[in-house]
Symmetry: C2
Subunit: 244 residues, 2 copies
């Protein structure tokens, strides 16, 4: 498979939501893209900021989080390449959460106003971007259920499955080969657990032969088993377009 251009990747992503044509491709190509390299831990947007750019993630991991009153942090979503990391804020006056790089990452930023203007004049793009935000919301609902109703083992397995499948869908390799470079502290913040308990939970999953760990990375060893422990199905990821 030939290397895809950035524009192709954005087009392909939106095209997965709605059937786009050459008019849309042309319209997208007219956007004012800026490539931006960010370092691990760097903030893309802070709570309270007015969003000025919408970003398409080309490389690396990015996550969004909220800080609660006692200083606790909750990661509310994780983004893999080909995700838009800012559709959620596009039409809102200020960000209700922080966006931060997990690893070194490459973003393609687009001025929010331009993107809104494009969506307002192109139905298909509007529909595709809207759908993108709805699928994200569906993932959030699953996270609510995951954190609210599954125990640590199941919850952790579920999250690993989700990231594995989303990476695979994005063309980043088979689900069995994915790599998740999060610290146990960060995993805890995503799962509503403490780092210590994440450590014990991962160990337990490894002992059961479901995952393999080496250094700071996790690999799936037994997909079926992990899926079963994690009570995971990919329905809520809504692969397949609205017109299909």
């Amino acid at each position: 498979m030939a290397e895809l251009s950035t524009l192709d990747r954005i087009f392909q992503r939106l095209n997965s939501h709605d059937d786009l044509g050459s008019a849309e491709y042309k319209a997208l190509s007219g956007l004012d893209f800026t490539q931006r390299e960010i370092e691990p831990g760097q903030y893309v947007l802070r709570e309270g900021d007015r969003p000025k750019f919408c970003a398409f993630l080309l490389n690396g991991y990015v996550y969004r989080h909220k800080i609660v009153g006692d200083g606790g942090r909750q990661i509310v979503s994780i983004h893999v390449p080909t995700d838009f990391v800012d559709v959620q804020n596009m039409l809102l006056d200020y960000a209700d959460h922080n966006i931060q790089a997990l690893t070194a990452a490459t973003l393609m930023t687009i001025p929010v106003q331009d993107l809104i203007a494009l969506a307002m004049t192109n139905q298909k793009i509007s529909r595709a971007m809207w759908r993108e935000s709805l699928v994200e919301a569906s993932i959030m609902r699953e996270w609510i259920a995951n954190i609210g109703r599954r125990d640590a083992r199941s919850r952790t397995a579920h999250m690993l499955c989700e990231v594995a499948v989303r990476r695979e869908k994005a063309g980043l390799g088979a689900r069995e080969t994915f790599d998740l470079p999060m610290t146990q502290e960060q995993l805890g913040d995503a799962l509503g657990l403490t780092a210590v308990h994440v450590n014990r939970t991962l160990k337990s999953l490894e002992i059961d032969g479901l995952i393999v760990r080496s250094k700071r990375s996790v690999t799936v060893a037994d997909w079926t088993g992990l899926q079963s422990v994690g009570d995971f199905t990919s329905n809520y990821l809504h692969f397949g377009s609205s017109t299909g």
Copy 2:
């Protein structure tokens, strides 16, 4: 204040997201509305169903929930009158969650295809509905943080604050007078707690003078106190339009 017609209420709701004009009012009035009365516990939509209608809630409470593998239930959102209860599903091929009436409720249903068609031809309506769905997503992020990072007391107080404020915003009376007719079982399913623990938590909030309970209803006794215990601010509800 004169009684508002259903159409006025829908217009007003969308107008809170984006400045609409008479063209939008006229377009909305052309929609094929059907009023539908539903009973407590009745399903509006089931997981896996293909959404055919989008509903505007006129009266009563409605909630959405997911069932996890071990039979546990997690409520992922609660709706008060003037909420749209189905924008989340509009562009998705099948529902990833259930929608059920909490109390007797009145819905105004609109065929999904008609509403999409309208949005695709009217930028302002499209933008307003899109924004409606983004605000809902913001509420879900707050729920993730609430369930993941706050203890039972704070978590419960936070949810009470949210419903109180959303009801007030919808013109259903001051936040101190709201009534939440949920069983403790249902509250538990919304908060990721058991009914027994909800009972103890509510009791504790009442002893501290933050709420008053009588029969199956909760009233706010000390708003400032409840807000403080619940670590609640209304930022994430994004009152105020995108153009303001």
